[in-house]
């Protein structure tokens, strides 16, 4: 089943994998950027952020996203599973409320509050991104698992599966498509939000954007923003490809 899922994924995502290839090329070769941005903003003198190579910025950005998303996804799924168990059901409302709060609280504010305690740079950014991206994962894990029809759980129970076996053989496989959608939403949002890291010195693609703001050079802003955009779209489609291959 895994092999056929992989094949389906590769077939469907062929276009996206191609685009990803183009994107990787564009990170290394800045000539297309120069041509494009010069045409857009002929009155500027510089079009590419000079203090760091695009590849470095992308690397920093990806590090922020990958670590905070890994934390958000793993803890989000665990929390979602816990509150759908008989023992955890009492906490369902609490978890719902907490994750909603975490999402509605502005990430900039979380950064501002975290810095005095955790310091500048990487750590407070991870904290803010983690809190901001956990909601979709938890919500989708809960709704995915609750969508598994009761008779199926009955049948699995009646056939002799333990509750743990029911979770891993029935509930999770059937909830996977919805959980993946939650992960996709979470990661894609995270890619955009990670630009905030530039405010507290965490690096990433927010740096040329902020620099462009400060130096009033829109070309820098576009360099940063367009790269974030491409990264987000490609990630979105790649994860959507994985999503499709689940039942």
């Amino acid at each position: 089943m895994l092999k056929s899922a992989l094949k389906t994924f590769l077939r469907r995502s062929a276009g996206m994998i191609l685009l990803a290839g183009v994107f990787i090329y564009l990170i290394f070769d800045m000539n297309p950027w120069n041509v494009f941005l010069r045409a857009l903003f002929p009155e500027e003198t510089e079009w590419i952020y000079p203090r760091a190579m695009l590849i470095e910025l992308v690397g920093e950005h990806l590090l922020l996203v990958v670590i905070s998303s890994a934390l958000a996804v793993s803890m989000g799924i665990v929390a979602g599973i816990f509150v759908t168990r008989r023992s955890g059901r009492v906490y369902l409302q609490t978890v719902n409320d907490l994750t909603s709060l975490a999402q509605t609280f502005p990430p900039v504010a979380i950064l501002a509050l975290a810095v005095p305690f955790i310091g500048f740079g990487f750590k407070p950014t991870i904290a803010a991104l983690f809190l901001y991206s956990i909601l979709p994962v938890v919500r989708n894990t809960i709704s995915g698992i609750e969508a598994v029809p009761g008779p199926l759980i009955e049948a699995a129970f009646g056939m002799g599966m333990t509750p743990l076996q029911i979770l891993f053989k029935v509930e999770i496989p059937l909830a996977m498509k919805v959980i993946m959608a939650g992960i996709r939403i979470s990661v894609v949002m995270n890619i955009g939000t990670a630009t905030l890291g530039a405010i507290v010195g965490a690096g990433g693609l927010g740096v040329p954007i902020i620099s462009g703001l400060v130096r009033q050079n829109p070309a820098f802003v576009i360099e940063g923003a367009l790269t974030v955009c491409l990264l987000a779209v490609i990630t979105d489609r790649l994860i959507a490809g994985i999503e499709e291959s689940y039942f």
């Binding site: 199926l152 009646g158 002799g160």
Partner: protein
Amino acid sequence: MIQIRNVTKKYGANIAVDNVSLEIPAGEICCLIGPSGCGKSTALKLINRMLEPESGEIFIDGKDTRDFQPELLRRHIGYVIQNVGLFPHMTVAENIAVVPQLLSWKQEKIEERTEELFRVMRMESDQYRYKYPRELSGGEAQRIGVARALASDPAILLMDEPFGAVDPLNREGLQAEFMKIQSDLKKTVVFVTHDLDEAIRLGDRIALMREGKIVQYDTPEEILAHPQNRFVSDFVGADRALKRLSRFPVSEFMKKPVVVKVSDDVEAFVAQIRKKGRPRFFWLLDEDERLIGPVDSRHVHTPFSREEDVMEANCSAITVRDSATLREVLSRMLGQGVKTVPVIDDDSRLVGEISILEIEKVTEEAALEC
């Protein structure tokens, strides 16, 4: 064999199963039936410990079910529910393999068993094994559900309204198939249904429940002939004499028909009958021994004319199949206004005839016993 002794199951103040005792002999189908909320599904789930009773014991082949780990007990008891419960993310073969895999069977053994089950269910293995449940019709899905329950070759099968969600036409087919399978496998089956006709058709014994208690536990013939109280007689219905007839297969009561082939010397045959004075009717068959129609020996032309002398041009309206019950026979008699009905097999060959007299004998027996 299943022994249920003084079992009670409560939900707070509500007593779902009230001090129930029941003994189900091995190899029999016991139908649990009753109005909604009578406790039949609850009673079923107590057998495989999906629910635990407040008091009482359940013994399977002499062993207390509490001596086993619940999951292990359930893996050795087949369980079929109404909406099938086939796992949609698994193929048919993977669904069937679920319990054997829980029991850590070797892959070759699982393969063998799957093939065997397809044979038992009379389904093409190559056609079905890689299909997903969404690609199956309701009837097919239900058959796979039964196959899955039989995968670990359990001695006991628990079925909770398994054919309830299937349309009536398919349901009859499924019931007939199930009877055939049961005659080969001889499982001990506890079958919950709300359909009395289904219970009468399938059950070796019926346990009629009401508000958590068993009101009557008897063979279908007994319950229909001698309902113990008002509730039972109301439940089985005022037409219980007719329902009882569906327990008697026509093949056991039909008589040998008097026949002549159209290729034989019909006129000589008629002359012989007239001389003897009886029987009055005989059946005309074609060269392949298929039924053409009945002939009244007193109203026959000379020479014999097929078109004029055969009484029923449309014989298929009055025939019944040899798989029918006396209930269909009576229905045919009343619907077509005949007193004798020919019985044919799958190839339309005449295998017997049955008259209203045979039916009267059967109903008389019930009356005499009162």
